[in-house]
Symmetry: C2
Subunit: 456 residues, 2 copies
């Protein structure tokens, strides 16, 4: 029996897609930069079916690429060519919220927005939020240690994961979902699999911590003179505002793109070099505290604050629409953006931001570099337009700049295929040797996400 026949027998015909037209939506990432043909697309419904798929692939030595919401930005979820594409989209079960423990167990295919709504309906909230919330899945968020806009308050996905269920390449199921408050019995496999980008095992369910639901929110959009001034503002805000949960930065060029794409009016009478978005949330209305903090921060050139839902959404749109606006601008120009996600020590942020356009221009003179990011973590999203043909050179130049500043070449998107060849800019040879020994220990045949994390 062929592998495809075995998979059909296990999952049903409808969930083994071989027709090129049916496969197509799974074979290209949403930026359009990464694409490859899958041998077939399989859509198991639960952990047992995932295990059956993996046993079948292991028996034939067939490589597997794992996909959640296909919102990744480093090519980690689309085939290089010829792999079985394992979509976890159908693993959408959400267990009831455990209010006593402040936790919930979710299938890998649960969408972030669905998880948030589920938690809120039970009077709690989920600590991670990001713009791709309607499509990104829990499995992908854990596999890439997603960050987003609330890391300042609640940490990244790593801080939310208290248990996982996963299937090894040989079909062995590991289930550790009790999520005890403390558990000190050997290596923490949940933490090892978090951020492993599908190279060690396939996550099928995760146990996630929930956080208190904030009854009140207030958002400020602030015009500042530059990166250093935004950091000065953040220092005041962090010091004064226990309710601070987000601090974002973007720049004049990005804001102009967003305004054009979304037909938004200017937030202020004047344009400023940089803009910070601050959000506070808590059990009591944080608006007055936020206004007071802004009044005390010398870096503020102008500011607008919104406490109502519509007003908050309007201010967030300037920051959250950047990804779409940049993508649209790239498509208009007949290309796709080169997207890089990096982290630097906070002290190096102003100089790195200042050096980026020139660094990019050095290898792609006609390119436009649009930057935004998470201010508190000095996490920059570097988007380069008009450099599709020079994507590798742009990536290398930016990542070398970041490495020279003692930064990380991936802050929250992961390494994927996009950055695998540059892993040594962030990890020592000794570390990479250890990572490979761990990979070898858990996936000795190298069937899970080949080419992801480790260049082939």
């Amino acid at each position: 029996m062929s592998l495809e026949a075995a998979l059909r027998a296990a999952l049903g015909d409808a969930h083994v897609l071989v027709d090129p037209e049916l496969r197509a939506p799974y074979e290209t990432d949403w930026t359009g930069r990464f694409t490859g043909k899958a041998r077939c697309v399989v859509r198991p419904a639960d952990t047992a079916q995932v295990a059956e798929v993996l046993r079948g692939c292991a028996a034939e030595g067939a490589p597997v690429v794992i996909q959640g919401g296909n919102t990744g930005l480093v090519g980690g979820g689309v085939p290089a060519g010829g792999e079985v594409l394992l979509s976890l989209a159908r693993l959408g079960e959400l267990e009831p919220v455990d209010r006593a423990a402040g936790a919930v167990t979710a299938g890998a295919g649960v969408r972030l927005a669905g998880l948030q709504a589920h938690a809120r309906a039970a009077g709690l909230d989920f600590g991670v939020d990001l713009a791709a919330r309607s499509a990104a899945t829990v499995g992908g968020l854990v596999a890439t240690t997603a960050g987003g806009i609330h890391v300042l308050r609640h940490g990244s996905m790593r801080s939310q994961v208290v248990g996982v269920e996963a299937v090894l390449a040989d079909g062995t199921v590991l289930t550790r979902l009790a999520g005890l408050a403390k558990d000190n019995t050997g290596y923490d496999l949940s933490q090892l699999l978090t951020g492993s980008e599908g190279t060690l095992a396939v996550l099928t369910r995760v146990r996630l911590k929930l956080v208190p639901l904030a009854a009140h929110r207030a958002v400020a959009l602030v015009g500042v003179a530059g990166t250093q001034q935004a950091q000065d503002l953040l220092a005041v805000a962090r010091d004064r505002l226990r309710s601070l949960q987000a601090a974002e930065i973007c720049y004049a060029d990005g804001l102009a793109l967003v305004r054009e794409h979304n037909r938004l009016s200017a937030p202020f009478a004047e344009a400023y070099p940089a803009y910070a978005v601050l959000e506070c949330a808590g059990g009591t209305d944080p608006t007055d505290d936020l206004l007071e903090a802004l009044a005390e921060a010398p870096a503020v050139l102008d500011a607008t604050v919104a406490s109502d839902s519509a007003g908050r959404a309007r201010l967030w749109a300037y920051r959250e629409s950047l990804t779409e606006a940049v993508n649209a601008a790239a498509v208009d120009a007949g290309g796709v953006p080169v997207k890089l996600d990096v982290c630097v020590p906070a002290g190096a942020l102003p100089e790195v931001v200042a050096a980026l356009p020139e660094t990019v221009a050095g290898v792609a003179p006609a390119a436009r570099t649009i930057i935004w990011g998470h201010l508190n973590e000095a996490n920059l999203h570097v988007n380069v337009l008009g450099a599709q043909e020079r994507a590798e050179q742009v990536s290398e130049a930016v990542l070398r700049l970041v490495a020279a500043a003692h930064g990380s070449i991936s802050s929250e998107h992961g390494v994927g295929r996009a950055k695998a060849r540059w892993l040594s800019l962030s990890r020592s040879g000794a570390e990479i040797a250890v990572l490979r020994r761990i990979k070898q220990a858990l996936d000795p045949a190298g069937l899970l996400n080949p080419g992801v994390l480790f260049a082939e």
Copy 2:
């Protein structure tokens, strides 16, 4: 050249101890329950010397047992017999506090109390605190994912670790101390080594997150009718007190032992079945909030609150002196206590506490079972007096009770040698196989802490 000669050449004669009298303090844990002869005790001064020691041991296939402050309670830091004992006590370097990052890098041999004082001198604090603070070392705290009394607020050691330096069994040095706010470039070795109990690598330095220093504290000692009532009190406190940072529980028998050992007066006119210790800390004085919360909690039978340093110490003494008092009582009776540290789901806590004395009596009829623990995490420290000869039977009975309640056989002390044979009560066969594959990948000759975590 013999291994000892090579070690002397590397470390100097004064730091390779072969004389039985000099070795003795390292060969027995402080409870007196675990003891074994070391081949020699070596005391390297830095990471490079640790690497030299491990290369020498690897060349000869000599097993190594790693020791920090020798405050462990599961025999993980003392020899089984014949190992080279690697003491990290001299790795005591504390780098200046990085106030901008809110972090500090500490040598494995730094004492917890020293780290706390260092952080406080810089206007910050360390998020973990526990009674053994004057002796426990940073390396051991990370290796065992120590918890302590502030887990409720700041999490365990796992939440504080943002980077490590470690030496593999073959002498390879892994250094990852940048502690970037986000770093998503491959498996998180810091998290893998946290809690690995010295079985994968020797931690030599760690980068630790710091927390805000609280200017004000208030402590309450509360008499309640039992475990469930203490949990009811905690629910009110958690709900009302954002400044809550500790919630401990102990019982009438433990309090009586402490009073006797420390010659303390009774905290209340009446004795109560159980006592909770609550601590709040923050930038403003939390005393009034604490008093209000106590007034609203029906579970409170009597309570006393202290805000000044001496008063707080007096109330904490009822809880923090338990370990010493129990040890003294055991020594008086000519033995050592059997000490078990377990975690159960919060809902199972009252029934497990109620079942413990009878469970112990079933295998050791003359024993006394004294229980205390960390209320928020449902983490119990079970201390059994008068059962030294039946230590294995008592351990097995208690751990099986906990496993049946879906708890963990180790909450914060680790598995060590003491519980290695019962690891399967908390981890599935598939999980243990994966743990062993990881051990094999990083320490293929099995030289680091043999017998710890995995029974031989």
